[in-house]
């Protein structure tokens, strides 16, 4: 059981870090939309619209690492069964 929890913790931490890095390593808050700027040809004005996209931030990474730490910490509550020969 303890080994399973530690593996789960490692998988969670690695998955979160990989996702965070793969999406650009956003050092701000998590975003669910990103601004897209286009220029109106006639007026020359820059329009701002938003595309729905999940961009994890440091809060996402922090929460995932906290969850992984809790799992890893919890693993010490379970003792491996002693086998006698």
């Amino acid at each position: 059981m303890s080994k399973t929890l530690r593996i789960l913790a490692l998988v969670l931490a690695l998955a979160a870090a990989t996702t965070w890095l793969a999406t650009g390593g956003n050092r701000g808050w998590t975003k669910t939309s990103v601004p897209v700027k286009t220029v109106d040809e006639i007026t020359g004005l820059e329009a701002v619209s938003y595309d729905r996209r999940f961009v994890p931030g440091l809060d996402f990474l922090g929460a995932a690492l906290l969850g992984a730490s809790l799992l890893a910490g919890g693993s010490f509550l379970f003792r491996n069964k002693q086998t006698t020969t």
């Binding site: 701000g28 998590t30 109106d40 006639i42 701002v48 619209s49 938003y50």
Partner: protein
């Protein structure tokens, strides 16, 4: 001959009066280009977003830009930031309280330092800015660009008329408008930088 000349002269005079008359520009933009961008840059956190729910009318005379009058309205609920929780807070009671104060508006009072070069006019526009029910007089530098007969190009020929583009960048104080008054300036900057980029149409 004399009668014809008088008629022609009268028509020319009427046409020139009509052309010089102030025009009513409607800033409700079906293309969704009109926007206001806001930025709060605090040491610990930067908040940036935009609003596109813009409407209002401006009376502008290219021959007498100093007489410009108008009111621009931003639907407070159209303010958007990329973080959903932050957006909820922004629309909430502490910040803009959009349920009670659905409009952010600016109404002109006077223009000063008016300079015109070609189609462009720059001026310091003084008016009343109302946010969260708090009205304050501010002065902002505004650039007006009058685009004669450009409405047709923007509507694929469906409407004919003129366009008026307005650009303004200025700063206001969050504390002046009771926006999240309890927030520390380390986390939420007191200075809000605003950039308004809007175009209005005067169909014929």
């Amino acid at each position: 001959m004399t009668k014809t000349s008088i008629t022609l002269l009268a028509l020319t005079t009427l046409a020139s009066i009509a052309l010089a008359a102030p025009q009513n520009f409607d800033f409700k933009d079906p293309k969704g280009v009109n926007n206001a961008v806001f930025t709060l840059d605090a040491p610990l956190e930067a908040i940036s977003g935009s609003a596109n729910g813009i409407s209002g009318t401006v009376i502008f005379d290219p021959q007498a830009p100093a007489a410009t009058k108008g009111r621009i309205v931003i639907a407070a609920a159209s303010l958007h930031v990329p973080n959903p929780l932050m957006k909820e807070h922004l629309h909430g009671e502490q910040w803009l309280d959009v349920a009670k104060h659905p409009e952010i508006s600016f109404e002109t009072k006077s223009l000063s330092n008016v300079k015109t070069a070609g189609d462009s006019t720059t001026a310091d526009v003084t008016g009343t800015l109302t946010i969260k029910g708090v009205a304050r007089q501010i002065t902002a530098p505004v650039k007006f660009t009058y685009l004669k007969d450009k409405l047709g190009a923007r509507t694929n020929g469906q409407m004919q008329g003129d366009l008026l583009v307005m650009r303004a960048s200025f700063a206001i104080k969050r504390s002046d408008f009771r926006i999240n008054p309890k927030a520390s300036e380390e986390k939420v900057a007191d200075t809000i930088d605003l950039t308004l980029s809007v175009a209005g149409a005067a169909p014929r």
